[in-house]
Symmetry: C2
Subunit: 446 residues, 2 copies
């Protein structure tokens, strides 16, 4: 085995080789660290990384395995953690100077679950300021003059640059699907409330989701399986059985899936590469896809999202607004100012409309379709590092709490990746992975 290429392994392969004693976690982590040394000057995916500490974790996990103790599904596999998730052993700074040097004493629930599954917490990945819009230092691994997207910039870039096989991030508008699309990896945002956000810096309880990054669908399924758990500290999680993502996602669908191609009112923002790419997919899918008009009641969803996000961001940043206003970016200050003006009646009305809107999509799925097919972003990663791009193709699905996933199936004329987004009904997460696998295979067949 060529130990210098272990960083190219998927998490699923790596976990198997470690379990079987073919490679050690230390060797895997060393290969990933070598890749980081080679590329991170260009990519800048990390805000905290202590190579020696990563290796210490790996050696301890190797020791556990050698002692014959029970090991978890991610035993020895490194993962990047967006720097809005608390880590008990590393700083967590939220991408803000207000929290420079902050080191929490407890893990976020999601991080604790990953440790429990045996993962090596590789380091903290760059986030935009508080997972909002103001960019961090990360660049797109495909072209450092282009944005990696945000807000989970480092998570997407680290996976794309083969620095780690897995990463977690978050999404409140388009913060997982958009950077995954720009960086050419798979991004998955499960149903709202499936993964705990306890000890994760909040923007909006209603809209915040944990997001997953990997280079293969197997890895997405493996990672998702570790993270779904009831957490009494996240009031939106519910006690429920575990979801066998891995086994469901590899099942053959009983019938070839049907896709509803929904352009949404954002279609006018899509560039030619994206439009042409979708033309090709639609052609290739033939009878398995139908274009579906978004119903009129959904047209206001972008406004409702803005109302809810405004109100909840203003609520969550009351302390920073009072005490550290000068250390907030202009973008975040503007958002808080607008949010402070939101009236409670408008906020409540928007909240009330979410389940009604979701019901309309449920009808669509029940009638005929396995997944909605729609762009992940208006274009490939835009040139420049001052903006993280446009989340508007994600807003509607995030608002509804629906599971969504992007697959790196298209390319721009400049050879930058373009994602294809699939969306399912709430709770249809594992099935969505199954549908995504079918689509990947279909597209690979050409």
């Amino acid at each position: 085995m060529d130990l210098t290429h272990l960083h190219l392994l998927s998490a699923t392969e790596a976990a198997r080789l470690i379990r079987d004693g073919v490679i050690s976690s230390e060797q895997l982590v060393e290969a990933c660290l070598a890749q980081i040394r080679a590329d991170d000057d260009d990519v800048q995916a990390w805000t905290f990384l202590d190579p020696e500490y990563a290796l210490t974790q790996a050696r301890a996990l190797d020791q556990l395995r050698l002692e014959g103790r029970p090991i978890g599904p991610l035993h020895g596999v490194p993962i990047a953690i967006k720097d809005i998730f608390d880590t008990a052993d590393m700083p967590t700074e939220y991408g803000s100077p207000i929290h420079a040097g902050r080191t929490p004493s407890r893990d976020a629930t999601a991080v604790a679950l990953l440790r429990g599954a045996g993962a090596v917490i590789m380091g903290k990945a760059v986030t935009t300021e508080f997972a909002f819009l103001s960019p961090g230092k990360t660049r797109n691994p495909h072209n450092p003059a282009h944005t990696p997207g945000g807000s989970s910039s480092g998570s997407a870039a680290a996976v794309a640059a083969n620095m780690v096989p897995l990463a977690i991030g978050s999404q409140t508008a388009g913060s997982t699907i958009r950077p995954a699309s720009y960086c050419g990896v798979i991004g998955f945002k499960p149903t709202h409330g499936l993964i705990s956000r306890h000890r994760v810096s909040p923007l909006s309880r209603t809209l915040d989701h944990v997001g997953l990054f990997a280079r293969t669908l197997d890895d997405i399924a493996l990672l998702a399986e570790q993270l779904v758990a009831f957490d009494e500290n996240d009031p939106d999680t519910r006690p429920r059985a575990g979801i066998p993502f891995s086994s469901i996602s590899v099942e053959e669908p009983p019938l070839a899936p049907m896709f509803a191609f929904i352009k949404t009112p954002m279609w006018q923002r899509a560039d030619n590469d994206t439009k042409e790419g979708f033309d090709e997919i639609v052609e290739q899918l033939g009878a398995q896809v139908e274009e579906v008009e978004l119903f009129p009641s959904a047209q206001d969803a972008w406004q409702w999202h803005q109302t809810i996000m405004g109100a909840e961001v203003a609520h969550n940043f009351e302390r920073e607004w009072q005490n550290h206003r000068d250390l907030l970016s202009e973008q975040l200050r503007g958002q808080i100012e607008r949010g402070l003006e939101v009236r409670a009646v408008d906020y409540q009305r928007a909240l009330k409309l979410i389940p009604l809107l979701h019901d309309s999509f449920v009808e669509l799925f029940e009638q005929r379709y396995d997944a909605i097919l729609t762009p992940a972003a208006p274009s490939a990663a835009p040139r420049g590092l001052t903006s993280t791009g446009d989340p508007s193709f994600c807003t509607l699905w995030t608002l509804c709490g629906m599971p969504s996933l992007t697959l790196p199936l298209l390319q721009s004329s400049e050879a930058l990746p373009i994602g294809v987004q699939l969306v399912g009904p709430r709770g249809g997460d594992a099935r969505l992975l199954r549908t995504a696998r079918w689509l990947s295979k279909k597209m690979a067949e050409g």
Copy 2:
């Protein structure tokens, strides 16, 4: 058996006598109707009452029993339903001209549970306009020149006037405890989320509770036991085991209960009769009561209640505000106007403070006390029918969703009843009834 006095029976006694075949439901309902004929010109507790239909229900229930079919715990017992609960067979007008003649096609969940338990739905009891402040026609059975309290005016008055042994109402600030105190009956507001509010006219999801009225603690326990149920249509109910109110409430407490006498900042509003009454109780309880100062963080609770109620009332009455503003009372219009101005950040802050406030009370209970002892209202029922009185002694406990109960243990110098309020921690409902029983007995011993 003297059939002309059956209306004086408690629900528990009546249900037993019906079950044993000693009396029929028809005889019981006939006695209650006679009482209504005798007294309702003065009391005006009912907004809808069809004597023949009540008797029809009673006869059908008698027939069931005669056929040896299984019967419920309230079989044949009449109950009054506040006119904000939907009833499939009677008008439900919410005390508002906007809904004059409205007859829903489905029962509220609470009403359906009562029917399932075998109760006779006697009729609809007067509510203030939409269970807010603007009074209905009902008068206090102890003195028709005095208010019965509100908003569950008819429910409290009908039970006090022996027209029915049981009634249900609601409480968003003090709408159960206050009229029960004024009318001299037992009022019980269980923990928030214990009883479904589906198909009950909403003022405020966060603050609305179903309330119970009866003349004995046995009856309160019997009624509560029928109403606690998970309802997926009320997002604040949770799947949980039934609560054996009747058996727990008759248990002897292992130790004599300790009471925390809390005056709250509202004490200054209490009149001399109330203050003197509480002096006597405190003296009589001796070592079993201690005065406890309300912690400073609770002082703002009345303001938070106003913020939440304002915001949620404005939300719930958007349609009436748009389409029927002229048919709303000035009081409700004023409330909506103030509520429309509430900012989403202030609303969210108030919501967030509720569990923190409740936690402080939990500490109090865990340390030492079985129940909080506090007035139910500042005075006996005030003279006049233009106001339903002051709910401020109930606001704090309603805000926290804590179970509270009033016992008619005191009297004013004009011989009007004055209630003594007991409050427990959320979920401590059945224990609170046990404590209340101990207190009733202790006071009866003098």
